[in-house]
Symmetry: C6
Subunit: 81 residues, 6 copies
Amino acid sequence: MPATEFDTTLPSIRQLQNWIKQKATVEFKLMTGDVIVGKVFWQDINCVSIVDANNEQISVWKMAIAYMKVRSDAVVERDFK
Amino acid sequence: MPATEFDTTLPSIRQLQNWIKQKATVEFKLMTGDVIVGKVFWQDINCVSIVDANNEQISVWKMAIAYMKVRSDAVVERDFK
Amino acid sequence: MPATEFDTTLPSIRQLQNWIKQKATVEFKLMTGDVIVGKVFWQDINCVSIVDANNEQISVWKMAIAYMKVRSDAVVERDFK
Amino acid sequence: MPATEFDTTLPSIRQLQNWIKQKATVEFKLMTGDVIVGKVFWQDINCVSIVDANNEQISVWKMAIAYMKVRSDAVVERDFK
Amino acid sequence: MPATEFDTTLPSIRQLQNWIKQKATVEFKLMTGDVIVGKVFWQDINCVSIVDANNEQISVWKMAIAYMKVRSDAVVERDFK
Amino acid sequence: MPATEFDTTLPSIRQLQNWIKQKATVEFKLMTGDVIVGKVFWQDINCVSIVDANNEQISVWKMAIAYMKVRSDAVVERDFK
C-alpha cells in the first residue's frame, strides 16, 4: 500500500475535501522547491489535482508535498490584480 | 507493496490511462528537477513510460514524480515549430 | 499503510500530543530546507497542522519532516517583541 | 515490504529483464543527480546492478532511480570512440 | 507500517539502545544536510530524540537520517572546551 | 514493514554479505551527496554498518543509499599511500 493513508475520516483528508467544497485557493510547497497555487479539484490516495490561475490542471503526487496552506490573500489578489 | 497504489479505478491512474488513449503530450516534473515531456506509452505500479519528442522511451519511477500536467501548448508546438 | 506509524502510545506521537496540550511553540525543519515555527493544532497519520505567528494554518506532511524541537526562546519572544 | 513491486509480469520489471538479455546500454538518472550508464547485470526487488564502461559493477537502489532509458547512441559510441 | 522496522533484536535498533545506555555523543547526518550532535534520549519506530550540547531536545525522523556515528572526539571535547 | 526487503537469498543482500566476508572496500554514495568508503561490518533491514579508513564505524540507513560499488583501486591505495 502507498506511503500515505486515505481514510476520509482523517483530518488531513477531510481538510483537502473541505478545500474542494469551499473552492479555496491553496498553496502547495513541493519537495522540489516548486510552489503550486490553485483550487483543489480532486484527491485520491496517490495525488492531489489542482487547477491553477492559468486554468492548468496539475496532478501533484502526495509523496512530493512538503506542506499545504490556504492562501489568505487569495480573494484580494483576484479582486485587485 | 510499493509506495504507490495501482487501482485502475483511482482518478490518478485513470488520468494516466486517458493520456495514453488521447496521445496527450504530458509534462512530468521529477524530484531531481528534471522535466520530461512526451506521450505516455504505458504505466504500471512502479513506472510511467514516456516517449519524448526525440522518440526516446524513458521509464520514470512514480516515486520520483513531483507533478504531471498536460501541455496545453503541445498542439501548437507540433504545428508551427 | 503510510510511511509513519500512528500509535498514540509511541513517544513520538505522544510528544506531538503534549505540544498540542501545552500550546508549545515548535520548530519543524523540513526536507525542503524550510523551517516552520508555530503551535501544533492537530496531527494525524499523514500530517501535522501548525498555526504560525501570522495565524496561518499550515499542514506539513510527516514524511517531509527532518526534525522538530520546542523553541526554548519562544516565551521570551512573546514577552518582549 | 519494499517501496517497489517485484512481479516479473510487470512491464517495468520485464523491461529491465529485456535489457539484461539484449545487453542494452542503459542510462540511469539518480535522485542525487548522478547518471550511471552501463549494461544491466541483474535486478532484484531492492537494486539494479549495472556494469559500466570501466567494467565497474555498481548496485543502484531502485528507490534512488528517477528515470532510466536505453542509450540510442550506445552502439555508435562503442564503434568510434 | 512505517518505512523502518522496529525490532529490538536488530543490530541497528540495539546500537541506538546501547548509545542511550552509554550516554554516547552521536552525530546524525540528515537528508537536509543538517548535522545533529548529541546524546540519544529515546527512540521509537518513527523518531530518534537527541539532546544536544545546548540541552535542546530534538526529535529527528528516522526516514530523514542518512547516517549516524559515535563522535570519537566527544570525550576530549567535553574535557578541554 | 520497511522500505527495503531483507531476504538473505536476494542478490542485493547476498552481495553485501559477500563484501563482509571478503572484507572488501566499498563505496556508498548517499542521497545527501556524501560518499562513505570502508569495509562493511554488518547489515540489517534498516542499516549498513561501515568501518572507514579512520576506523570510525558509520551506520548508513539503506533508504539513504543511492548506489554502492567495490573500490577497485582499494588494494593499491592501501599499499602505496
